[in-house]
Amino acid sequence: MELLCLGLNHRTAPVEVRERFAVGSTQLGAAAMELATLADATEGVVISTCNRTEFYLAAPDAREALILLEARLTLRESLDAGASIHFYRKVKSEAAVHLCRVVSGLDSMMLGETEIFGQVKQAYQAALAAGTTGCVLNRLFQRAFGVGKKVRTETSIQEGSTSVGNVAVDLAEKIFGHLKDSEVMILGAGEMSRITAQSLVSRGARSIFVSNRSFDRAEELARNMGGTAVRFDDWQRALERVDVVISSTGAPHALIHRADVEKVRRARKFRPLFFIDIAVPRDIHPDVGEIEEVYLYDIDTLENLASEARTRRQLQIELCEGIIIAELAKLNLPGT
């Protein structure tokens, strides 16, 4: 038996091609059965996420099975002959290394992301339940999970936040711990502030207040997020109770000045206040950050932190790949 992998991902295929091969999470088992039949293979697993669809197979002749599978898939999806450029093909040990890279997050759009680990596990469980795995793919997937865990624990591949929103949420947690007692106010109903606030809510933030020059827009956003709309003239009063302020208005000058915060310090009993200013020009005057209990972060600072985390992850790739090669060399997997 020989191992093979045929796949396409965000780097090799545009979304209009990827979506044709996408498989819903409840259909993974059935897809694995169909896959094995299509390639005349004895074992098959289908992995399908928003960024990739990959077919893992064990067949008597890997190259022959690859040609057969590709031809039948192209025919089934009525793709032209040029569509083959979107696929990548891996056989034997290459396929094993590739799966380990996928499980470790090295092949993901956001390097080191953790979600893929669970998605691959789900795909394998579905194939296992459908009875389309045997000694080759069982050993391959079980070992790949072990290697993936080792890569993630022994390197910094998943350390730090790589997006502005996640950096802001991590900082909020560093200040307030769990966010279940924290209240958040959004100033300006921009997309970026909505995403950041949504991340805070998903991590447990208690309530959200939305203030915008257009009250209708504030109400709409508040409704979508399960929060409360606040009239733009009243945001200073809301400042007395909130813990996190996310500001992204289109104002041409600073909106929040030191005096605004000084006024509410006593009423807040000097509790910590976290300002996230993602507006350009900035909404919050830098002087506000000089107040003792205030932590002020603007878009550049957040972007720099995210960028540094991305760079740190990039520097870990070689180390991760070294672990994968070393671990696979020890395992002597069937089909490779």
Binding site: S156, L171, E173, K174, I175, F176, G177, R266, R268, K269, F270, R271, P272, G289, E292, E293, Y295, Y297, T301, L305, E308
Partner: protein
Amino acid sequence: MDRWFLLIATLLAAIGGTWGMISVHRGTRSHWTVVWMVAVLLCQLGFLSIRGQLRAACPLQDLGEMLVFLAWSLTLFYLLIGPAYRISLLGVFSAPLVFVLQAAALISGMLTTSPKRDLSPNMFHSLHSATSVLAYGALALAGVAGIMFLVLDRQLKVHHLKSGLFRNLPPAHELLVSLERLLWLGTGLLTLGIIAGFLMPRTTTSVHSHLIVAMAVWVGYTGLLAVKTVRGLTGRKLALSAVAMFILSLVVFARV
């Protein structure tokens, strides 16, 4: 034998602290800090039980014993609070203080070589000594939590977020909550100690001045908690006050 226990406890605190700091510097969490501190506590208990048997009373009769009792109290409160609130780093910050206190107790002259048996032990005297030193343990740990908050606050303020220390420090809010609870606990125990102090027989003027200084310390901590509760206080001011007041309150030891 008692000194051997103390020596081992001091070495364990030094090793635990150094180990923890190396881990923090590497950016990893030291899971062994709690284990080292448990070993320190056991050795401290060995020392205190031997001294207690020799004295046939609470081993708080000389400055050396008081320093060890204080280190024991600090270790005990860390073990009660640190793991429960998932602030293992508190141990890394506490271990150096435990080391310093015990090393000071090991200096020649601090511990009576042949402790005399207390022939007429007084319950209130023992209660005063024990609760006061336990209070100091809690207040010392509050100071340690204060230092940790000040470090974290500074890093958050200047956006210096890359160090291993930053990654390992617990959230600012949790540090402040622990700090405040320790202040309440320490002040409560100090209150008991002072009440027992007034009930114990007082013969010398030094005992009077000792109680007056202890009262001043109590007023200071009670005032701090009152301001925090009624008016509110920034985290930085609360932490700085906890550190400064603990250092100042050590004056009481000089008045023993």
